[in-house]
């Protein structure tokens, strides 16, 4: 039997505070005029009415800067993985989809133990979208709602939340909730209506084709004038990659401490838009031109990952559009321009 409860907002606060007392909880909080995930100290700081966070929740599975190994220059080393369990509270459906995609990427070929160790210890409390972000197009991408990929899904209906529990990990969190009634048929019907609306209306931009048409669309647009035109404005600043929930590139560097003998190997987020990203040993850069890098991102999102895994690597969160100071990163505008020929 699936567990679907209905709780008041007051109950939600009490529940979250009980969870905070027991373990690490990351939740969406206000940051200046925007939102960000951070360690939650008080349920009152949780903002489930957020539109979008600056960085996606992938930062908890693939930290911005992560020590993956400790070493001694004599050749001894020891791999470092994190074993701490944690909860992420307030993950929007498009990010749930992105996390599932990253799980596949990090499991494929060589299983990335650093990522997977964190991922396996995480409990994801998803939350349906209450406010649309300025540049989103999740409805176009089919990511405005989700069926799976989370442990619990919260949906605000009326003055309370439907708490839909899908996994054993999710059930474990219910202990802290205590008694709560099951959601009644009327509430569930309202939730269906809410989902229907989300799937139709959660768009600030309209993609003029189906996401699955993108690989074919890109097929013969390699020489389109838009690449060069927009690249003329591109700073190669990497913001569009940094904020994207489906970008996962990293760079690995070794650093020694003041003993000059012991050190750490760290990996940091990297970005294919940066000038030196594709520079390989010997100094050769296989995507030297700004235009090549600018084009690459849209091909990677719309075609390359499709060819590898059968998925489109864009979930329509709109973060890149907002983050780009040159205003040239919007995937919808770009793909629609290609469609015009």
């Amino acid at each position: 039997m699936p567990i679907v409860k209905y709780i008041t907002t007051d109950q939600l606060l009490v529940w979250v505070n009980a969870l905070i007392a027991a373990q690490t909880v990351y939740g969406v909080q206000a940051k200046e005029q925007r939102f960000a995930y951070d360690a939650l100290a008080d349920a009152a700081d949780l903002r489930l009415d957020f539109d979008v966070t600056i960085l996606p929740p992938k930062k908890f599975f693939q930290p911005l800067v992560e020590t993956i190994m400790k070493f001694h220059v004599d050749g001894h080393y020891e791999s470092v993985t994190s074993e701490e369990p944690f909860i992420i509270f307030g993950v929007h459906p498009y990010d749930v989809v992105a996390i599932a995609q990253m799980d596949e990427v990090f499991r494929a070929n060589y299983a990335d133990t650093h990522y997977l160790s964190r991922r396996e210890r995480a409990t994801i409390v998803a939350c349906d979208i209450q406010n649309a972000s300025p540049s989103m197009f999740a409805a176009c991408m089919g990511t405005a709602t989700v069926e799976d990929g989370f442990d619990i899904l919260l949906t605000k209906i009326g003055d309370g939340y439907v708490v839909d529990v899908r996994t054993a990990k999710g059930e474990a969190l219910l202990v802290a909730l205590g008694d709560a009634p099951d959601a009644d048929a009327g509430t569930l019907a309202r939730r269906e209506q809410f989902w229907d609306d989300a799937r139709r209306f959660l768009n600030k931009y309209l993609l003029k084709c189906k996401p699955t048409d993108l690989p074919a669309l890109l097929e013969d647009q390699y020489e389109h004038a838009i690449w060069e035109h927009n690249a003329g404005l591109c700073y190669s600043c990497g913001s569009c990659n940094m904020v994207c929930p489906t970008c996962y590139c990293f760079d690995v560097q070794d650093e020694v401490d003041w003993t000059l003998e012991k050190g750490t190997r760290v990996r940091k987020w990297d970005s294919c838009m940066l000038r030196d990203f594709a520079t390989v040993a010997g100094g050769h850069n296989f995507r030297r031109r700004r235009e090549e890098r600018y084009r690459h991102r849209f091909y990677r999102k719309g075609q390359y990952l499709w060819q590898r895994m059968g998925q489109i690597a864009c979930v329509g969160c709109g973060r890149c559009t907002t983050a780009c100071t040159a205003k040239i990163a919007n995937p919808v505008e770009l793909y629609n321009t290609l469609m015009e020929g």
């Binding site: 200046e32 401490d257 940066l274 100071t325």
Partner: protein, 250 residues
């Protein structure tokens, strides 16, 4: 192995970068187990003509300074430019933007402008006078990065200094972009590595670490229109640290 002998010299600057080194606290002791300081006006009274590593702080403004710098270069195996004054010419280079330097001097120093120690000319970065092996960017420098560069030097490895824009650091910090507040920020053309403290503190990046390689300044000019700003707005921001670097073609 004997410790490398290190000398720190200051030219035209506020000495704020040296202060960052003095303030390294425990790390300063770590540093001193690996190097032997032989000249460092801000921290010791001795001086020496024998050193392996010369660290240069400040910009070069007078003929006699150029001579002194060339002499230092000839004595040092490795030369490090420390801080924006040394790596870029720094704020001192603002003076180069004026047609009549004598007017500037009178305005700044009044009657004292004719004193011999103020016989300044065009302001130069260290690399405009002698070859520089390593640059530690910033105004002031970041002591952590300075320590990293020294450790690389001691280990014989090449330090990896970011060659990407400050926006990367800024996004990592999840600051709201200054452009969203309607301000111009130089982050997209400025070299990262500082951790973007300025946007995090509510200020635009004024470019103290200098440009990245190949900054898209022409693009920046076009982007200004998208924010209803002008190229002059952009240029006025760039003047502070980037006079004499690649200029926007207005």
């Amino acid at each position: 192995m004997s410790k490398p002998r290190v000398a720190i010299f200051d030219f035209a600057c506020c000495e704020g970068c040296q202060l960052q080194i003095v303030n390294m606290e425990e790390e300063l002791l770590d540093l001193l187990t690996h190097i032997e300081p032989v000249e460092w006006r801000e921290a010791m009274s001795e001086s020496s003509e024998r050193y392996d590593i010369a660290i240069i702080e400040g910009s070069i403004t007078r003929q006699q300074d150029e001579e002194r710098l060339k002499l230092i270069r000839s004595r040092a195996k490795v030369l490090i430019a420390l801080g924006a004054c040394a790596t870029l010419g720094g704020v001192n280079k603002l003076a180069n933007g004026f047609d009549d330097l004598n007017e500037v001097k009178k305005c700044v120093y009044g009657d004292a402008a004719r004193m011999p120690h103020l016989l300044t000319g065009q302001v130069k970065a260290v690399s405009e006078v002698v070859p520089v092996d390593y640059s530690v960017h910033g105004c002031p420098i970041n002591a952590e990065e300075f320590g990293y560069v020294i450790r690389c030097l001691l280990r014989g490895t090449t330090p990896v200094i970011p060659n990407f824009p400050v926006c990367v650091d800024c996004k990592m910090r999840e600051s709201t972009c200054r452009f969203e507040y309607g301000e111009i920020c130089l982050g997209p053309i400025t070299r990262a590595g500082c951790g973007a403290p300025c946007p995090a503190a509510g200020m635009w990046c004024f470019g103290c670490r200098g440009y990245v390689d190949e900054p898209n300044i022409n693009g920046a000019r076009d982007v200004m229109e998208r924010y209803r700003k002008t190229v002059d707005d952009l240029k006025s921001r760039m003047a502070l640290f980037n006079t004499g670097q690649e200029q926007p073609h207005a």
